[in-house]
Amino acid sequence: MMRVLHVIESLGPGGIETTFLNVLRAWRDAPAWATHDVLSWSGGALEGAYQQAADAVILAAEPEAWEPVVLAPYDVIHFTFERCACRMLPFAVSRSRAAVVYGKGYDMGGMFRRDGFAWQPDESLMWGADRVTFTTASLAARFVAPQNRSTVLGKAAAVQRFAALEPPDLATPRRIVCVANLHARKRLGDLVQAVARLRTEFHDLSVRFVGADDGYEACRLGALVAELDIVAACEIVGRRADVAADLAASRIFALPSGCEGVPTAMLEAMAAARPVVMTDVGDVRSAVTDGVEGYVVAAGDVGALANRLRTLLADPALAREMGLAGRRRAMGHDVVAVASRLRSVLEQATGRRAA
């Protein structure tokens, strides 16, 4: 049995944390092939779920706490997130005999690299690792990583959980749902403005924001909602452990973000057969074709956002058709397949499986 240490920055409700939790769950539900310990700098809303999915969860922010963990006799250490890798990977490779895998997803370094900003340490970390994984081929193309040692895993989401939801129909409330952590970079105010414009045509239209607040954004959003006089049409409900009910009670999923990779929440909404209105950021287009599963508009273009939402609100049949197309496409992102590919990479890193 392999012993694997997975290093992750936090156990908060972010995209990478959620995705990797789903990978751990997929491994847990399959025949055992390794022990999985998770080392994180800090806890968070997903801590309990991680404790159930992993063999051990170790929270250690300080070197004197995490260094002994890294030096324990693991076969492979798997780093996610550039920050914890930048801090801990040099220690691991210079003091431990464990193989090292660096997983490059849409952390800050990944998102910014996709947008043309190259942070050199990120790439150097890849050359100090035995294997490198990338979430998408587009992301991989942005880095010069060791040839024959890099694998594109694909974006994973626990899409099966949402496949049983009925597509929206006329009985579904005329509601737009946005699932995202509340942060300025998500540009949630753009959606508020779009809804305010559309309320003149669709008097029963509402929007629901689901996601953890960063401590300030909910206030800013609330002020905008009050200023636009749509308090009755806007809900900011905070983080949910399960967003299925929110998706089921909405006709459209919209995310006006200015900075993304391939959003997990978008794939979950697609699996729930909700048409999506997204911004053209990160690798959103790797999962959504404009006009097929929904629409893709320029970030910050409130007019275009409102227009696309209007189209879907005015034509429920089209919304249903796009929702079902999204469901079909989302099934290609099932976490089970990605978990299997990551397992292969971890085994290759230790020489237990041929590349």
Binding site: W41, C86, S94, R97, V100, E123, W127, D130, G258
Partner: protein
Amino acid sequence: MSVAGGFNRPRVESAVLDLFARIGRDHAIDRDELDALEPDASAALPGMWAAYERHWRGFCGSRLDPQFCHLDHPARITGSIRAANGAPVVVVGTGPSLTPALPDLRRLRSGLYIFTSPRGAEVLAAAGIVPDLVLIEHQTALDAQFSLRDQSHRQSLALSPLVAADARTPAALLRSVPAARLFVPDPLPSWGLWPATAVSLGLLSGARSVALLGIDLGSRERPDPLQAPLCDLLGLLATQTTVACVDLGGSGAPKPHWLGATLELIAVGGAVPPLLLDARPMPPAAARHAHALAAWQRLAPLAADARVTFNAACQVRDGDTSPRGRARMMDGFDRLLSAGAAIRERIDVQDSLGASFLPRFWRTPPDPALGEQLWRSAALASHELVHQHHALGQRLERGA
């Protein structure tokens, strides 16, 4: 001259703040190097060095500029600030303790100086408060990019009377700041954590008291373990100064050696005059360029060693376990590791190239018992060095 010279600070205290700044620059890899430089601060050195080792393993990376932003910094002046008549300084963050204190802060605003971050300035602006000083300091280039994409604080920056922007700040982040209000703080006593830097600037400014508000570091019941380094730093600063250090965020995590108090107790009666800025011209872009070019040229032999080491490490990784292949890698890696013995090369690699991995190996050397498995650390350090040297060369070709 000490960094606090002329600001009515006791000499020993000035030396201690000098020492704090020196450690944060990461130029020393051995405590004794600092002991020799700062005899007046020798009593403070063990505690500071212990914190530096404990939290950062002797390298906080606070001066790394891997994007070479200092070459394009738009500030025309550099210098240090002075609090008139020793008026109090409040360092304001955006933690939960800020919101309930905003009415008092607004009411007593005229009797104190407010230092904050760009985000703090934005929150204060929403409450109708303009800070006296906005400090822009990011831990890493990634954090700076993050700020660059979240330009919501642009307007509040434009309003601030003084903006102190670390030399590593991307120029694009400063576009909204009028040139007359923008300066590079020098000295910048920093370990990369802006609240501690702001406190240090407050101590250097000659303020009689320095207070924290909205710098919560978790809650009283549950301190945030990620904030332990900042908590320690704040404690260190408080123990090394005769200035009253006051924590106004009662709901936040306890901060050792910071006294609880209220705004009423620290604000002075009447209005404090504007902060004074002892300004000097910034070295012009051409001079910064020439300085970087000289470092780039000095580093050329080391970069060549790094290139050889990198190729050898990749060959070992790919299965070349011959004694010759391994020796080539180890010889090259040893040359890189031994470069850390010379302070000039240390400064060049860190400050001019913005490289981080080799400097860390200078502090925490790889385990030689790993043998050929050292290809990982050799590849990691040499790859960064080669690429940063190349990137700096490309940047310099574009001119000043």
